[in-house]
Symmetry: D2
Subunit: 296 residues, 4 copies
């Protein structure tokens, strides 16, 4: 790897910042931008160069990575008229790591292509602590030529890259599906624990039993533990962001006429949680709703 490689990086939130830091530690030169620039400061001492506008992080033919909170924020940083795509120009690559609508990815890929560049969808799968520890994964999709340049960079700061093919939207579809699976696992565990407790048995023993056998995997073990500890107030992924993702999934499902009955339950669950002022809980906090519904 050429240690001196330049990368533009936009979005220094809970996920973006540890990624950027890990890139800096790997030796990349980073031009960074964040809407609120204070967040960028601590990266300066690691060598990052702070810019005042998103398009200033882009170089012709270069790579810009972005990790922002939603579709609207992403549309804003790429610019109404595709400013970043324009500057990146021929062979330039936008690596978009946000969880957004597949149809937004398609539109941005077309915009990028109009200037001879590439759009690589690379939504990140993992929470901030995982990203910091480089144990997150990426769902990647886009044109081969561009992926070949992007993959080594992402591999250096993560556990694994999963390739979903040439259509950028596909990585976003898969990311939304994966988030749906996590939220469904949370709901089902919370229902199972509530059922167990309401009938006088010990949900901790249930978690132990399933977590060592058929559900011996991080989501059940870790989220299950978090639910039973009612450990919602130091969010690793905020409930309001969970609701945002649920709505992205719902919109994508509606556009494709895909009935999703578990998703419907989740929509109401997250909606009620926000109505009950639980926006700032960790998203496993929907379990508090489930317990309350049962009178626990």
């Amino acid at each position: 790897m050429m240690k001196q490689q330049e990368i533009g990086f936009i979005g220094l939130g809970m996920l973006g910042k540890p990624m950027a830091l890990n890139l800096l530690k790997k030796g990349y030169n980073l031009k960074i931008y964040n809407k609120t620039s204070e967040k960028a400061l601590s990266l300066v001492e690691h060598g990052a160069e702070v810019k005042n506008n998103p398009w200033e992080v882009a170089d012709p033919g270069g790579i810009v990575m972005s990790c922002v909170s939603d579709d609207k924020a992403l549309k804003s940083v790429v610019g109404e008229n595709g400013e970043i795509a324009k500057i990146l120009g021929h062979d330039g690559i936008h690596v978009s790591m946000s969880t957004i609508l597949p149809k937004t990815a398609i539109r941005l890929a077309q915009q990028q292509a109009a200037f001879g560049g590439y759009y690589i969808a690379a939504p990140v799968m993992g929470r901030p602590d995982a990203v910091q520890a480089k144990s997150q994964s990426y769902f990647i999709a886009g044109e081969e030529a561009a992926k070949t340049r992007v993959k080594p960079i992402l591999e250096g700061i993560s556990m694994k890259i999963f390739d979903f093919g040439n259509n950028p939207a596909d990585a976003n579809v898969a990311k939304l599906a994966a988030n749906f699976l996590i939220a469904s696992a949370v709901e089902s565990m919370a229902e199972a624990f509530t059922f167990t407790a309401k009938n006088g048995a010990d949900p901790n023993k249930l978690l132990e039993a399933i977590g060592e056998t058929m559900f011996a995997c991080p989501i059940y073990q870790n989220y299950g533990r978090q639910i039973l500890n009612k450990n919602y107030l130091e969010p690793l992924f905020k409930l309001s962001l969970g609701l945002k993702d649920i709505r992205l999934i719902a919109e994508t499902a509606a556009d494709s006429h895909t009935p999703m009955r578990f998703l419907r339950i989740l929509e109401d669950r997250f909606s009620a949680a926000v109505a009950h002022d639980r926006s700032n809980y960790d998203w496993t906090g929907i379990a508090a709703e489930i317990e309350a519904e049962a009178g626990l």
Copy 2:
């Protein structure tokens, strides 16, 4: 272990028979009973003694294990007036491995206690192939004195015993909760795969990605594969039995006033599957309903 120990064994179905065989191989003397006696025959050559009535497998102070299809079958084999409990008498133990209602366990435990004996709930967690390979687990609950005698026997033919305490019903509650979690995982995967496919992405890649990371556990890996292979016609656990379990969970939830929204989805799903003549599918076959609902 005393190789010559006597055990009564009732119920030689898909789960009971491999258990009985493994007990015989371990050196136990088995008196066996099955409603349709042909199923018992192949065990005779391994030394089992076939009886014509369930109560004939019981000895005073001894151990009877049962593994039957539902509450009704269990009530039938223990006898209207507790015949087996009566013969087992003081210190006799009934180890009940069926998936039944917690309230049935409570009633049978009282019956057993009336004769000075014990009822140990030990529902089996695993499908026939797992039981054969001794990789299933048991959720056990009941009085310590009896569990001490039962555990070594079950440990000899399984991977692990999880102890849910002194109240037999608790093991059944946990077993129902665990089955609910499996069915929920199936529904959520099938919805996620359908969503992925309807939006043009590849569900196989999704399964690979989640199965190697956050859902790296048997249920997601194995059931997920089964769903994607549409491999429903050689059932390891029949859909009609799945529906039976769903109804047991629903009844227990209703009795305890526990709202369970995912369970409601599953009730309709299994009900529709049976209405569509899919009773004999493997229970992962509810995925066929989910795909059909989406027009796939």
Copy 3:
């Protein structure tokens, strides 16, 4: 009408008592029975003869009407071994006005037929105030010969009889379906009102508008008003009884493999209401759950 006709009447609850009173006022001679006999006393001054056992109200070839709270109560009053059917004997008629499982009706009809008698299902459609005002209706089903004798009696104390044919179970199926429709209307109104209020508009105006036009009928007008007045604490039909009916519908739906998605919502709704100590509310009180879920 022969004013001196004898009728046995069992069950003097909120519905049974005003029926019995209206029969007395019509000139029928009533032998009455209620589990707790105090309830019968006020009818004595209207000429009723109180009996100490349910079977004592029956005469050979006569008519017994019953209106009790559930399947279990009905099974109890008809007697373990069909005592009432036996006494009623040839041409005797049991008119069963309770809301029960269709399969219970089938069983009781068979029992009655075994003694040469008839079982007429005639579940009552209406709340206590309606019954008192003779504005309730009956869903009737059973053999013609018997219905011919029963109809004039019921017509004298109600607004209308709807005939569902020769199979007694059919009237119970229809009654359960009708109750499901009412509960669904309540849920949908409460959701609509909550939606309206949460978005800053006035649900009272909504009710006025729909209640004068497309939903100009008693259920929407009266129940809608009750919901908006939050008038739950003087129940005309208790929420716990509503839950009982929901469970009868659910059991019948499950037995016939009929998915019913609105019913699932109602199951959880009533279950949560009971978990939140609202058993004694009027069953429109599920609206309180719906508002609370939305944070109102």
Copy 4:
């Protein structure tokens, strides 16, 4: 009424055209616009003046009525930069009869106010045959000064006006709530009929019984009949439009954090119906989905 009053009218679809015709018959002078102008032709012989652009129907200080298919169409006809509001100017009124998002109404009202004019929300409640017969109603909301001018016009071509106050959005909220109630009534009837049929009873008798008593109102009587006649192929309101409305309700519910469990069922139901090529059915055609789900 001044017979010579001028009105601009935009949108000559299934609802708009009979409205426009009734206005012409009342003696109003109409300048009309429709995206596809053929639809306008038959109105010319009744005296309407056809325009080629939506803003040409507006006069300073005058009234423009619009009745178009969705939010997007409405945004298009009012013009990107508020062309119609600009021409209508001071005291001009836009009467918007479409079923749209409340938040769209708010935005358009602000736009109108910016030019000194008024936006009156007046969504129409009724199907084309009702509109033709002047038996529809309007949910009206907006500033009094403008409503005073609009009401007499609408009263001349309808059965009744329901006033939801000064905030235009409130009429749209109520309209969405009313459509939700209709769709819920359809789903609940279809479930009830399916339940009845699956259990061997006659849903026609059920409809007769409830339609004469507690549900003696147009929605139950007419839609109920339509469902039982499986009369879906001559749509009075197309299923695809129903889905559009369901999505408007869902978006409004999500924005206001209002859980709506029945709505969730409807979302999946309509989505599945479209996935099964039933877009062109009448929206009561979701009943076909419900029957199919139950294997009928």
